[in-house]
Structures are given as C-alpha cells and as structure tokens.
C-alpha cells in the first residue's frame, strides 16, 4: 500500500491511498484503502492515509476517527493518530500504520510494525525518508 497527504498554500488538505491489497486474497476482498473514512480521509483540519490490516482499519474507521478526534474533540494530531493506530487497532488484533497531517502543518506517522516506508518534505524542500522503527 502507498499513500500521501498534503497541505497546500491555501491551507487545504488532501489524502490518497493506493494498494494491491492482501497477498493471496480471495472472494473479491476489498480492504480499507478504498473505503473513505477507513484507510483514507481528509477534512478541513486533518488528512490521513493508512496502511495495514485493512479489516481492522475498516472496523475502527481509522482515518475518520483520527480526524474526528482532531476536528471535533480538539485532540492533538499526534495523540489522535497514535491512539487509533497504536492502541485501538492492536487492541482489536490488527496492526499497521498511518500518515497524518493537520492544517497547521503538524505531521504524525505512527506504526506498530517492524517498519513503515515513509517520507516527508516541508518548507526547506529537503526530502526526508525513513524505513525502520528507530529511524
């Protein structure tokens, strides 16, 4: 799965996610990536793209829940994203990660797996990339 979230000069956010899904999947299975609110969501305050065990992201409505916590409950992006990805989803038996960005430019990239391919680029134009958990 791959994904991106962006904040433009006007202060608008967007999110996108694309995936080949689950190895060896059957029966026309669709995961969270294509489900708005589960693996992909954006509103005026927050944008999220997820990657992980899709069934759990769907049940948790992960991306929307993160944004709802930010937009409605006024939680910090970091706390909202970490709570959903590293607490709620593992508590259900799932795993994975997400990237999240809020309208003030705060970035969160929680994950509970060995690694997550991830990158970010801000005002200085310097691309930053990390793969493993301790990077």
């Amino acid at each position: 799965t791959v994904g991106a979230v962006a904040l433009d000069r006007r202060g608008y956010l967007a999110a996108g996610t694309s995936t080949g899904g689950m190895n060896d999947k059957r029966w026309g299975r669709v995961g969270d990536s294509a489900i708005i609110g589960a693996g992909t969501y954006a509103d005026a305050h927050c944008a999220v793209s997820g990657t992980g065990w899709g069934e759990f992201y769907i049940r948790a409505m992960a991306a929307h829940t993160i944004c709802m916590k930010v937009s409605t409950l006024n939680e910090s992006l970091q706390r909202a994203a970490t709570d959903v990805i590293n607490r709620d989803i593992p508590a259900m038996g799932g795993s994975g990660g997400a990237i999240a960005l809020d309208a003030s430019g705060t970035i969160a990239m929680p994950f509970n797996t060995d690694g997550m391919y991830r990158g970010w680029i801000t005002a200085d134009g310097i691309p930053h990339v990390a793969i493993y958990a301790d990077e």
Binding site: D8, G21, D24, S33, G97, I99, T113, D114
Partner: protein, 170 residues
Amino acid sequence: MMQTATPILVIHGGAGVIKRDMNRAKEKAAHAALVRALQEGHALLKLGRPAIDAVMAAIVVLEDDPHFNAGKGSVFTHDGKNEMDAAVMEGDGLRAGAVAGVAQVKNPILLARAVMEYSPHVMLIGDGAEAFAKERGIASVDPSYFRTEERWQQRQRALKEDTGPTEHFG
C-alpha cells in the same frame, strides 16, 4: 480559507515486516522512489497547485515503482491476478472518489480522482470502474504489466503454507 500555509507533503510506502537484512539494492531503490515521490509532489505545491495534485503526483511515482504493493508490483490474489484499490479525498468540500478491484488501470489513483471529479458517485468497482476509466481516457495496460517475480513467489509461498487468506496481508 485564504491564507498562505507552508506546503507540506507526507507519504508512505506501506508498513509491515521490513527486515533489516533486506537486500541493500532493494532498500536503496525503495528509498530513491520515496525521495522522487516527495520531490515531484512538493514541486507542485511550491508552484501553488492544490494539495490533491501533490498527492496524485507522489502516489503515481510509487504506483509505477515495482518495490511497493500498488500499481506495478502489486501482490497477487489467490487466483493469480492483480486487483487494485485506491481512494482520494479533498479536505475542502469533502469530495471523495474510490475504485476497487481494478485489474487493467495503470494508475488506480488517477481513476479514483476521475470518479471524484467526473462521476456522481464515490466508489466504482470491477468492470464498471474499468469501463469508466476507458470513458475518461485513463491509461490501461495488459494485466501482465503489474506482475513482478518477487510478488509471484510470495503468492506461491502463501499457497504452499495454506494458512488461509486472513493471515496474508499486504
């Protein structure tokens, strides 16, 4: 909202079992693709283009790179096919588009955007999504385009292990 925000782009290329002893060449190639995705998306933001354009540009780079489970390099289904899903959403206006189970669309993320912009629907699946792609002039490819040997071998191992589909996630 009329303000001047600092353009920011954040991307991911998937989470899961990523071993530290991963082939160095593979790690380097994946790293390079992520950098390219960031640069292409950020270049658009710097020009003042909307966030959705940057998201598209970054994801297309990753879909075209065989090291990630999306587009070229997607994992295989139990039946030996590649079936892809994608979605986009804009924060202003809450517009969204999604596609699922597409097998011939080169860049499913572009089709998801087309669904958002040119259809009255949010999600199209399978043959209907493919037909809409043709109608909109979204590039299609032979399904063999998506195949990589590594993904094929992953599917073969999964079949041998026969642990059931829920234990194999991408």
